[in-house]
Symmetry: C2
Subunit: 207 residues, 2 copies
Amino acid sequence: MDRNTVPRATLGRLPRYLEYLKVISADGQKNVSATAIAKNLCLGDVQVRKDLNAVSGEGKPKVGYDVISLIKSLENVLGQSSFTDAVLVGAGKLGRALLDFDEFEKYGVRIIAAFDSNDKVIKTGSKTVLLPMKSFRSYCEEHSIKIGIITVGEGSAQTVCDIMTDCGIEAIWNFAPCRLTVPDGVLLQQENLALSLAHLNYQLANS
Amino acid sequence: MDRNTVPRATLGRLPRYLEYLKVISADGQKNVSATAIAKNLCLGDVQVRKDLNAVSGEGKPKVGYDVISLIKSLENVLGQSSFTDAVLVGAGKLGRALLDFDEFEKYGVRIIAAFDSNDKVIKTGSKTVLLPMKSFRSYCEEHSIKIGIITVGEGSAQTVCDIMTDCGIEAIWNFAPCRLTVPDGVLLQQENLALSLAHLNYQLANS
DNA sequence: TAGATTGTTAATCGATTAACAATC
DNA sequence: TAGATTGTTAATCGATTAACAATC
């Protein structure tokens, strides 16, 4: 079995398992069954078992999973044992909203710096460094940045993307509503924020 | 065939088709083949054909699709012929970023009002009305609002959700990182912004 | 007719879920 | 042993893509 592949959907549920396990661990509980987890999180028990299997595979019939070691496995897969640093370009409303968002840390990623071509961009209450675009390259090289987030407008997204890959960034998350071209070997995730709303609207209109 | 089901993934591609068709239509082109569309948008030709089929199904062998009627079909399915109004609760950074986002209109949805419990929330340059939470019910009833967007914190998301369903809202898009409970018959889309970044990080770490 | 183009059928893959076999 | 619980196998569904049949 390929231990190296946690499906995307599974990955999305892992922080919920982790949170629950920490609670019962604090209560002193040593073992837990997939059924119990499923019941608590309103999920199917088979799904929980499959998910946990992709992560650890240490369950024992009749006993369940060892809470402590499961927590460790989850933290490992989620990357919480070795955080990855990411940078963001485009400190507009969306960009600054992402800087405030706590969820990324649950998945082992920290946005440690934001860049904007406009030097006058308002420095908000966030703890992240806000830097001018001209220091982008040196910053990325110094911190060996591998992940870049694009929250600029459609017009400059490809330019920013090119700069990022040129500075050694290997994975890009793009919020601009346009397709980007990246060199071979660079990962690209295109975010389509509108799609969920579109889907809701469509379901509503056709029901 | 069930004409009433355009798959979610297909729906996401429709605005791209529409945009391209408008360009060639402005050039006076009467017909277009799926192959030509695919080539231009870097997609598979079979995929384009399946997508267009879900929308119109009026292609003719050797000729292709009628550009004008295809545009009309797309505008219809995308809901651009009768826009749906939506409201948003939580005028923080994320909420205000969404208010500025143009993409929703491509899918036939307009966010016409935003609400916040904090009366002092800064009125930004956006054209959308920004109102205090106390006028939420009357506004929704007056405008027969069916779609609500939640961009408040985890702590108040369920409360806002309850108010929404109580005011007749039938579809909810939730950005707060927590599961919501909705009455039967109410559609719920849970947004997990962190997942794409998590997935990138995971792929990067396991490659 | 010939060939371009459509639309359909079948294969594959990821995700979910039910049924079942294995095991402590 | 008996039964709770795990893990696997098979069915289903949505999405993508290749192969092919239909048609203008």
